[in-house]
Amino acid sequence: MAEMWINMGPQHPMTHGLWNLRVKVDGETIVDAVPEVGYLHRGIEKLCEGKTYTQVIPITDRLCYGSSMTWSHLYCTTVEDLMDLEVPERARYIRVVAIEMQRIASHLMWLAAYAGDLGMSVGFTYTMRDREVFVDLLQALTGARLTYNYPRIGGVAHDLPPNFERDTMRALKYMEMRLQEYEDLFEGSKIFMMRNVGIGILRSDDAVNLGITGPSLRASGVSYDLRKDRPYEAYEDMDFKVATHKDGDCYARYRVRMDEMWESCKIIRQAIQKMPSGKWRVVAPRNGPVGTGFGRVEDPRGEGTMYVVGDGSDKPYRLKIRSPIFVTVSAAPTILVGYKVADVVAIMGGLDMCIGENDR
């Protein structure tokens, strides 16, 4: 049969953002794929060079609308490494609570989109409703619902609001009940399982060589989580498991993210219980030193890293942002070839695309 190219995007329900996936098909089977990105490039790295260190924090929030807290947190840890600042103990715990809440909210938003992609509208409405619980908590904590501007260089902007511990514990109890229900709902659906099991298999050596990180890597059987392997903030004191799966298919990626939400609930509960009292912020100097800083965190989508170069002024000389999904999407052809056009939605949805951080 004659081969032909199909453009899936830039306007396509599968893309969840502006990007284009060109697939070459032979009948229904994919023989080649070329992702095209850059539609949302805002020049954030250049933009940061003209702002002071503090002014950059709200910009890094805009990297990903799904998990803005982890990005501003990553930027703050990177600049703290440059300035050699020690963050107070309480701020470390507050940051753990905030970024784990963000991880749950981000995974729930992924699950909503994924359920919608695979034709389960009930999954979309349930998960978006329960995401509100955590968005409300983050609103109480930071004052914003999507782009929080909460971490600061040297701590966090302010302390926990009144009754935050009580509300969080209630939300966690509710969430664990709901997670159980999601598992029954999704895995009890024959269509959902048929579109997931055995689709988009990614071998572990391919995943490592192509630079895939985060849940997609752990779903291929490689147990690597920076929270465990190179603990930052207060993760050393937390007792949790790294979620892995050995199959490497779409179901494994779904399963790993579900398990991560269970573990995040455990981490938040421990962080609230162990939270010490004291200061939550130290004052950072306005000017950074001459030198470099390097930060690395486990973003909901993978390994997020930043590299900052300081020239002694109050502005970063150069800020390089490594987006996990930028590298993951470059591996899409390896995963897609050999499957059917109808599987593209499940495979690309299962990678949790976020174009804001991808294009920067």
């Binding site: 850059g38 020049g43 060589n209 690395r296 890293t305 590299y307 170069v309 390089k320 590298v327 591996a331």
Partner: protein
């Protein structure tokens, strides 16, 4: 009894000063292996903090140093490739991590302003492919032997490299 105790403590002291104990620390082991394999190519190796080491590499030996890092020292994942412009040079900074020993090495290759080019490492790590294209697109570093060195974030007909300091929006 007392003699035995003396012998034990002397043995412990010998252990601490024995040459093999230097390499008990994974950071030092990697730095020493790099310095021994590339006596001219790799310089200024230092341990920045636990888990992060830094070294400068001559761009002529960058490819073979990277191959040694992956094949013999277990650095199987390339985290990030950054390009930085300074007054008299460009620097391409590779952050390469190891899943086994949990280390990150920051490998810095300098290239002159009039010939900003280094060897591509995308045949070693597939994950370097798009990151090198991005560095080419935004900073204008040419990666030799790259399979498809094209612009990735900006349109193909753009004539400038916006992250260079002489580019004013």
């Amino acid at each position: 009894m007392s003699e035995g105790g003396r012998a034990n403590s002397a043995g412990a002291r010998d252990m601490e000063t024995a040459p093999s104990r230097i390499d008990a620390n994974p950071e030092d082991r990697v730095l020493r292996a790099l310095a021994e394999t590339f006596p001219k190519g790799v310089s200024d190796g230092e341990k920045v903090r636990p888990g992060l080491i830094r070294a400068r590499v001559d761009r002529a030996e960058l490819y073979s140093a990277c191959r040694t890092l992956r094949d013999s020292l277990g650095f199987e994942h390339i985290s990030m490739i950054s390009a930085v412009e300074y007054d008299n040079r460009f620097e391409v900074v590779y952050h390469i991590s190891s899943y086994g020993s949990r280390l990150v090495i920051e490998l810095i290759a300098s290239t002159p302003k009039d010939d900003p080019s280094v060897d591509s490492v995308s045949s070693i790590w597939g994950g370097a492919n798009w990151q090198e294209r991005e560095a080419y697109d935004l900073m204008g570093i040419v990666f030799k032997n790259h399979p498809k060195l094209e612009r990735i974030l900006l349109p193909k007909d753009v004539m400038y490299h916006p992250l260079r300091k002489d580019f004013k929006g």
